[in-house]
Amino acid sequence: MRLRAPVEGDFRSRLRGPEVASRVGLWLGICFAVAFLTGLVSHVAQQPDPVVPLPTRPVWGYRVTQGLHVAAGVAAVPLLLVKLWSVFPKLFARPDGWRPRALAVHGLERLSIAVLVAAAVFQLASGLANAAQWYPWAFSFRATHYAVAWVAIGALVVHVAVKLPVIRRALTGPLDPSPDPEEPGGPSRRSLLRTTWAATGVALLTTVGGAVPWLREVSVFATHSGEGPGGVPVNRTARAAGVTATATAGGFRLAVVHGDRSVSLTRAELAALTQHEEDLPIACVEGWSAVGRWRGVRVRDLLALVDAPARSDVRVVSLQTRGAFSRTVLQDEYAEDPLTLLALDLDGEPLSLDHGFPCRIIAPNRPGVLQTKWVTRLEVL
């Protein structure tokens, strides 16, 4: 017997084919669309000067969009695996003849599928690793995940356009061949689909607890149990940010600066100003979120101390020396919002060092990376 490369016809399972591929593909496409759109929201929200600023309401907006982003990626894993399985014989398809035109069409289709599969696998793998703060690569995750997202969604749209007639026929036609789907010899297409939905459901239930508190107990694979100082987990510790010494050193002062006007406040002086208490979520780009009870001074009250004009953006400077977010911009709608605090306490206790002691920003509907900790300076721009 001679070994040879398989051809399409060698794969005989009747489970494979457009009936299963289209139905699983429909949900896979929905997951990728949700992940792409919510990813765009997150990307825009992290720009220092966004074209369309994120609104400050609802306060839980980013919590929902980023939770959906990660959940859509998780749900896409079983869907993608079954989808690829259902079309695997296509990998061995031969061109429709050897004329240049046929070869070119074949080559282009192959290329578009290769790009789609590579980008899709890359997005899911890199996203899942990032959610667990695992970086087995040296490239910038944020910039690369964003760029490949465009490649993936574009390749997906091309794929759907090319396959549209096949998809339409498969979705409107019967799932299993009539009259009897229960012919001897194992699973039906219907049972494969049910299995796929079950796998997707289990993947979701075991991971979403980081964003959906009432599912914490069943989310055995959540990256955060939800425990932490003041009931809020920590993303980046004081040690990792290199602020342990500076944040605890005596003589801490917060500087609020507007041109040549400036005030300098100790933590005790901050605590003597009018305090406000707000329940606001910390929602991280990694998908987890938690609501904290924050207490501190309204940022707009601090800005009033230096006569900042209305609608001013504010630069927030942190003590941290490492990381891309040691300086952030608080856009005017956040700076003016009565819910935006320079928090001193969390859950009735002074902020822990890892939550940003001596003081931190907490604003409604904002990515966690912009809720700057260990704040030392507010600068009216």
Binding site: S13, V74, V77, P78, L81, V82, L84, W85, F88, V115, V117, A118, V121, F122, A125, L128, A129, A131, A132, A138, F139, A143, T144, Y146, A147, V148, A149, W150, V151, I153, G154, A155, V157, V158, H159, A161, V162, P184, G185, G186, S191, L192, T195, T196, A198, A199, V202, A203, T206, V220, F221, A222, T223, H224, S225, E227, G228, R236, T237, A240
Partner: protein, 134 residues
């Protein structure tokens, strides 16, 4: 047909924009990204897919027909969920100074999921048999 042509053009434009963004990255980032992109396809097409295919062939040849559906269920559920859980099971991103990150007992969690999946496989197999006897 017009819709499809418009969609293809829009898709190509979106992908091209992604490529432009990638080309903007430093060369070493770009090379590494290319390696990861290729590795993903290779890992699937040359390792995972043949493995699952082999299991399918073995199952179709040696397993009694009524066990195939429940076992396929078990394989798809546990296999894909395990793959999702690789980053937490390995605790590769754990940091000694952050006890709130990766703070669950993921191995026990996996054993529970595996046990429940196995129980579901048994229930499905028994339900199928009782259905066949009616």
């Amino acid at each position: 047909m017009t819709t499809r042509v418009v969609l293809v053009l829009a898709g190509v434009a979106a992908s091209a924009y992604g490529v432009v963004l990638l080309l903007d990255r430093p060369t070493e980032d770009l090379v590494e990204t290319g390696l990861w992109l290729a590795a993903g396809v290779l890992l699937h097409d040359a390792v995972l897919a043949p493995l699952v295919l082999g299991l399918g062939v073995v199952g179709a040849r040696w397993l009694p027909a009524r066990l195939r559906t429940p076992l396929a269920f078990g394989l798809v559920v546990l296999g894909s969920v395990t793959l999702v859980a690789v980053p937490v099971l390995g605790r590769f991103g754990a940091k000694p100074d952050n006890p709130t990150l990766l703070d669950r007992d993921y191995t026990t969690g996996w054993l529970v999921v595996a046990g429940l999946t196995l129980a579901a496989v048994v229930v499905l197999a028994l339900a199928d048999r009782s259905g066949g006897e009616e």
